[in-house]
Symmetry: C2
Subunit: 218 residues, 2 copies
Amino acid sequence: MIPLTEAELMERASALAGKTLGKVALQTGLTMPASMKQAKGLVGQLIELALAGACSTHAGPDFPALGIELKTLPLDRPGHPRESTYVCTVAPQNDLKSSWKQSRVWHKLARVLWIPVEAAPEIPLAQRRIGSPIFWHPDVAQDKILQQDWEELTGMIREGELDKLTSRYGQYLQIRPKARDSKALQSSSGPDDSPGQTLPRGYYLRTCLTRQILDSHT
Amino acid sequence: MIPLTEAELMERASALAGKTLGKVALQTGLTMPASMKQAKGLVGQLIELALAGACSTHAGPDFPALGIELKTLPLDRPGHPRESTYVCTVAPQNDLKSSWKQSRVWHKLARVLWIPVEAAPEIPLAQRRIGSPIFWHPDVAQDKILQQDWEELTGMIREGELDKLTSRYGQYLQIRPKARDSKALQSSSGPDDSPGQTLPRGYYLRTCLTRQILDSHT
DNA sequence: GTGGATCCATGTATGGATCCAA
DNA sequence: TTGGATCCATACATGGATCCAC
């Protein structure tokens, strides 16, 4: 079931374009709930199931052989991104030792297959339509800004300013909470390598970047 | 529900003596299955629930405030231990850096409350009786042998001989697989710190030690 | 008899993201 | 608008141990 070539994956993704989530769910044997309040990742998992034949939450790219990451992109009525896009978790220990091109953010974003999906709240979940897939990798200008952001953010982490790090930093890339709730904790370390506990956080792409990506492919 | 003093814990454990597992299960609101093939840890969890008021699988001693570890001890008809006793997992990374008195094995065995339970296969699970609790800590002779065993075993691990380490080593303490099945893997490291994968293992007490403990308390 | 294999429950981390109050 | 908060599913780790073929 796993696509073996990039062409095969693109073909399969193109075949989804125009279909509703309800129709795809039927074909894969799932039933859509009325709302996404309980199951925020449902659409992403449905699309992954439809394209890869399975939806397991293991580490690494969604299509390891192709090195391609799959991301759904929720659109509002005018066709703009409704939400920021989660990239990966912040690992205070590891991120500091690597360079931009060795970072998990870079690897996640190196080759992305975007699947736009209607997400205006007034459209019932099952009736939302899937858009045409966009195969993307950062161009030179985008990569430069992403790198600047990443270096600014990891720089602050390195200085032990993780707790001062709000989502206001970064032009394309931001850091926001990524946890069960605001009481969740993960281990971290301070400027002097002092161990501590902090709220788990993740890297997210702002909509100004995903909007660019959409615009340049229409 | 958690006993606050050692005396309270002992009193509660003594109150269980003579009761059947079925009776205790009723009191705690559980139902016993017919067999333990599906749920090998059931008896241990039932006893923990009855004594501590909860049965959560967090790290650390079962009664943190008291520093006491709870262990059930399955007995055959003549009243001898039927099985070896699991102590803790082998962590190839950490075990090597600590001394005997800093080791997780030592801490686990420092203060143990043994609960003997009938376990002859011909007795239906619900009818098996609980015995009198035994509060134990290693005496000087036992501690000496345990330390010798631990140093022999960790010595072999340090030499990178983890894969040659069978359960035949050790007088009281042995190392055996502790995994979902024989294909499970965990990270380890070789003699030269080379990373690798190996079968997860655990430390176990042989029955010759638990039999001693039983004998010296009757 | 016992060394190697295996079983369940629960906790925690990770991957999929959207919700919602200010 | 958007920064902070939150939700579900699944995988993996840990704690409770016993099973069973040789």
